[in-house]
């Protein structure tokens, strides 16, 4: 069932491309249908999935036997969680792109090519296949920004692509080295994970692969592509970029770098934790001083992804499950924030400057956007009752165990997060500044929030509250995953 998410998305991409350009409504219908079908497949797969079985192989087809490359897909609770996230983000992304009128069919074709690639990465068991899907996901990204983007889109698209390719280059080298050194003539992740690589090899291979993936997860100091990319991208693309593409990086860190080279993680644990915490605090501080609404959210993503990386390197199960939950949670919350900023506010006000938005009295003009942003803001700052809290709570528990001092600094990062979120909310929506006497502000009242926007926001809010109040829905999937043989090496190194 889960594998169908991939096929359906690529089929959807093709169908979207084939719909007539003059008829964007047909394209939208196909797109929404594809996204919903993908989400449905994901949900059905999740319901049928038995987390206690660990890693479940779904499809296994010989592909290039000479090189030990197979088309093999598999899922454990972590993959299922992220597949669900992708499905949710895809549906919300389509709903928030309802107003794309420029080359609609191509827009959605790229959109679903990206989604298909993402599903593929989350479900690949073969390292080569994973890498192929990973690259497939990057290319549409470039076009989405370069064609449909806004501020400095060429620069942003190029920067994003270059950073991604440098990252994948590092991954590729590490991957090929592992293939060669192991001598197993296989790209199968499980087989490779069983092999214990020499500590000296792990010492350099681990950081190479980990950082290669972590670039896409926005790890400080390789995060600079993220805010520019997020800001330039069209709304749906920012939602996907922050919502799922950054998760690809984190997923790669966990699934490839950490399982193949567990001892390498142990060697570099403290350095990576320091980078993660720096990202948390630095991202939050930079967000505090931004003048562009979307940059605030962009840097907040860097800060929140820091928690994912911190959780991963704690080397204990609470931290890991917190990191995976944070991937889900941040995907939903960041999607919501970008939807408000990009679609609800920018498409109406045509500016993202905080100073300009301040005088518009947006809470009165578009109250729905204000309420959505308030909810998303509280979720993002880690208020209990939303998914972010339970995720960051687990990461912090894990981190307390591993690096108490850094944990306290991460706590400072949370406080700064509260400050910039509240300040931004107050400035944009609840400013006391009287509206400027500009004529156009009164002549053209902002158009009301449309139904697709309402549905999309409702879906994302529902998810973050549901997981916030009943995290077991996902935790029962995630926690048993770490018992599977794939994580044997990691568990041994962690002393679990």
């Amino acid at each position: 069932m889960l594998a169908w998410t991939i096929y359906l998305s690529f089929a959807g991409a093709l169908s979207c491309l084939l719909t007539p350009r003059a008829n964007p409504r047909a394209t939208r219908a196909v797109a929404l249908g594809t996204a919903l079908a993908g989400l449905l497949c994901g949900l059905m797969g999740a319901v049928q999935f038995k987390p206690e079985n660990g890693l479940e192989v779904i499809t296994h087809i010989r592909w290039i036997p000479a090189l030990g490359i197979d088309f093999s897909l598999a899922a454990d609770g972590i993959s299922v969680t992220l597949v669900l996230l992708t499905g949710i983000a895809a549906v919300a992304g389509v709903l928030f792109s309802w107003n794309v009128e420029h080359r609609t069919n191509e827009f959605f074709a790229f959109f679903f090519a990206l989604i298909g690639g993402v599903y593929g990465v989350f479900l690949s068991l073969d390292l080569f296949l994973l890498f192929v899907f990973y690259e497939i996901a990057i290319v549409p990204k470039y076009f989405l920004i370069a064609i449909w983007g806004s501020t400095r889109r060429d620069y942003a698209a190029m920067k994003l692509a270059l950073y991604s390719f440098i990252g994948s280059g590092m991954v590729l080298i590490g991957m090929l080295a592992a293939y060669a050194v192991s001598g197993l003539a296989s790209f199968d992740l499980q087989t490779l994970a069983q092999h214990s690589f020499a500590p000296e090899f792990q010492r350099w291979a681990f950081p190479l692969v980990f950082v290669g993936f972590a670039i896409l997860a926005g790890m400080w100091p390789f995060h600079t592509w993220a805010p520019t990319g997020h800001s330039a991208a069209p709304t749906a693309a920012s939602m996907l970029l922050a919502g799922v593409v950054m998760k690809l990086g984190a997923y790669g860190c966990l699934r490839v770098a950490m399982t193949l080279f567990p001892e390498g993680l142990k060697m570099w644990q403290h350095e990576l934790a320091a980078l993660a915490v720096t990202g948390i605090v630095y991202g939050a501080l930079v967000a505090l001083v931004q003048k562009d609404f979307k940059f605030v959210i962009g840097y907040s993503s860097v800060s929140h992804m820091g928690f994912v990386l911190l959780g991963l390197v704690t080397l204990n199960e609470v931290g890991w499950s917190g990191a995976v939950l944070q991937m889900f949670s941040h995907g939903v919350i960041a999607g919501l924030l970008f939807a408000v900023v990009g679609r609800m506010v920018y498409d109406r006000a045509h500016t993202r400057e905080l100073d300009a938005l301040e005088g518009m009295g947006l809470a009165r003009a578009i109250p729905f956007a204000a309420v959505t942003f308030v909810i998303a803001g509280f979720a993002s700052m880690g208020m209990p009752g939303f998914s972010g809290f339970i995720a960051e709570l687990q990461v912090l528990i894990g981190a307390w165990q591993a690096f108490p001092k850094l944990t306290v600094i991460a706590g400072v990062g949370i406080v700064i997060g509260v400050v910039y979120t509240l300040k931004t909310t107050a400035t944009v929506f609840f400013s006391d500044k009287p509206a400027p006497a500009e004529p156009h502000a009164h002549d053209h009242p902002l158009e009301p929030i449309t139904v697709p926007e309402r549905l999309g926001a409702a879906l994302l809010i529902f998810c973050t509250v549901l997981i916030g109040l009943h995290p077991r829905l996902l935790l029962d999937l995630i926690v048993p995953s770490f018992k599977s043989p794939l994580f044997d090496g990691l568990r041994k190194v962690a002393g679990l």
């Binding site: 208020m383 009752g385 509260v418 935790l475």
Partner: protein
């Protein structure tokens, strides 16, 4: 009783209705107010039902409800009530409707305003009944959100700064608190208050924490102490304890007055509640180890805030500092109960005084803010100490009733304010005489600033500007009269509350490891 989950109903009723009230049309103000008050009254009735059905002889937790929530993290839905919880619920059930009734002058976006108040009440009910840290923290933070918006959207000229300061200060404390309890969870595998207290009682908690953080090489007792300081910070900001009080005067002054009522009446009690429910039972030894500095801080809170109140010229700021001063006595009582020497009898007296003072201060302080709200309605917002004068002649009833509340705040015997402070001093004096003696000037200065207030506003020659100052209306009387009556009842017959709290307090004192 009857197997009905009364506490859950009590908590979720206001939250659910709040969602409904948010949806009420902006123009239908009376509907929103009516719905809110109906829920407030229903909640009061529920608390009364709990009060009647409680078994006063049993100091332990009653009406427990317990469900698995997140098993991998030892998180449960666990609620229950003892005397302290019950008294706090009663306070929240009384003060919130008073504040809603005093909000007649709020005309802008009434449904949102009323809904936020209900949300706040639900959050408070949840926080006062939760027995699992995760569950408690959820409601503790949840109650911040409505308070933030009530200040931000309906406050005075500096409301944005006030709301932000209020929220961020509290959050800093909350994060420290959160980290401390996460470390406790790591060491013990539980978030349950009762289990943690039991571990502390058997002196197993300290060693468990040490063992977990031994590799830091901090030395004996240090890690437990550090966690205590983290947790302390959370509550010290909330109460507040000097020098963490700086957010409070601005917040109380800028918040709309009904919100100030709720803030001082109930939300500040959340902080004291934390000291009594969490810090004393879970960290008795670190509290004892830091006893002298903590007592100094409490004394500083009491004395300095009294002097600060004396120096203020804005009525709301005077009341804000007076609030800090009164809650300082509570903290003095809690800290003294952790003293190494002393009898169980004295500790019981001090802690009884603390709980009583929490309730009494809640009633009196919110009543005082309520009077200031009425005063502001008449003076078009003027509330300076020197703006009035001689009002006694034109508004005798107003003056009389507000005077009563002021005298109660001053601690006049026969009114409710007296008995709590008396019990605290009665307990603290034998436990740590020097602190009791040093805190006494606070009482004196309180008397001075309260009498000054009475003199400047009510006595002297009539300020001609207010020659047509209307006396208390019937509607306003209906708000303040029940509370005034309660002040007398509690002043004369405190047994009404002591009967509920004494067994609980005696139970805690038995649980203390020293």
């Amino acid at each position: 009783m009857n197997g009905l989950p009364l506490i859950s109903i009590l908590t979720f009723l206001p939250l659910v209705v709040a969602a409904l009230v948010f949806g009420v049309d902006r123009e239908r103000r009376q509907l929103a107010r009516g719905l809110t008050l109906a829920v407030n009254i229903l909640a009061l009735a529920l608390v009364a039902a709990l009060w009647v059905n409680t078994n006063p002889a049993d100091g332990a937790i009653q009406f427990t409800e317990r469900h698995v929530w997140i098993p991998t993290l030892g998180i449960e839905y666990h609620v229950g009530l003892d005397g302290l919880g019950l008294v706090m619920l009663m306070l929240a059930a009384l003060v919130i409707p008073m504040a809603v009734l005093a909000s007649d002058k709020i005309q802008e976006n009434v449904p949102l305003y009323c809904g936020l108040f209900l949300f706040l009440q639900g959050g408070l009910f949840g926080a006062f009944t939760a027995l699992n840290f995760f569950h408690w923290f959820l409601f503790w933070e949840l109650s911040l959100i409505p308070a933030f918006f009530l200040i931000k959207l309906w406050g005075g000229p500096q409301r944005s700064d006030a709301a932000l300061q209020f929220f961020v200060y509290t959050m800093v404390g909350s994060i420290a608190l959160l980290l401390a309890f996460l470390a406790l969870f790591l060491a013990t595998g539980t978030f349950d208050f009762l289990k943690l207290a039991e571990l502390a009682r058997t002196k197993a908690l300290g060693p468990a924490v040490e063992a977990k953080f031994a590799w830091l090489g901090w030395g004996a007792g240090k890690a437990y102490l550090v966690l205590f300081i983290g947790a302390l910070l959370g509550f010290a900001v909330k109460v507040p304890l000097w020098p963490f009080h700086t957010w409070l005067p601005l917040t109380y002054a800028e918040a709309p007055t009904p919100v100030s009522m709720a803030l001082t009446g109930v939300m500040s009690k959340l902080g004291v509640y934390g000291f009594v429910r969490l810090l004393l039972p879970i960290f008795p030894e670190p509290m004892q180890a830091l006893l002298t500095p903590l007592l100094w801080l409490a004394v500083a809170t009491i004395v300095l805030s009294a002097f600060a109140a004396l120096a203020q010229r804005d009525l709301k700021r005077i009341l804000a500092y007076s609030s800090i001063n009164h809650l300082g006595y509570c903290l003095l009582g809690v800290f003294a109960a952790a003293s190494a020497t002393g009898t169980a009898h004295d500790r019981t007296a001090a802690l009884n005084g603390v709980v009583l003072q929490m309730f009494n201060h809640g009633i009196t302080a919110s009543l005082l803010f309520c009077f200031v709200a009425f005063l502001e309605d008449r003076s078009e917002g003027a509330r300076g100490l020197d703006d009035f004068g001689g009002l006694r002649k034109v508004a005798p009833v107003f003056c009389g009733l507000m005077g009563l509340a002021l005298f109660s705040s001053l601690g006049l015997p026969g009114l409710n304010g007296f008995i709590g402070e008396f019990l605290i001093f009665k307990g603290v004096f034998p436990l740590v005489p020097w602190a009791a003696v040093l805190a006494l000037p606070g009482l004196l200065v309180t008397a001075i600033f309260i009498l000054t207030l009475i003199q400047k506003v009510w006595c002297g020659p009539l300020n001609e500007k207010w020659a047509r100052f209307p006396d208390l209306t019937y509607n306003e009387g209906a708000v303040v009269f029940p509370a005034t009556l309660l002040m007398f009842v509690l002043g004369v017959w405190p047994q009404f509350i002591i009967a509920v709290i004494n067994p609980t307090v005696a139970h805690w004192v038995r649980q203390l490891p020293f």
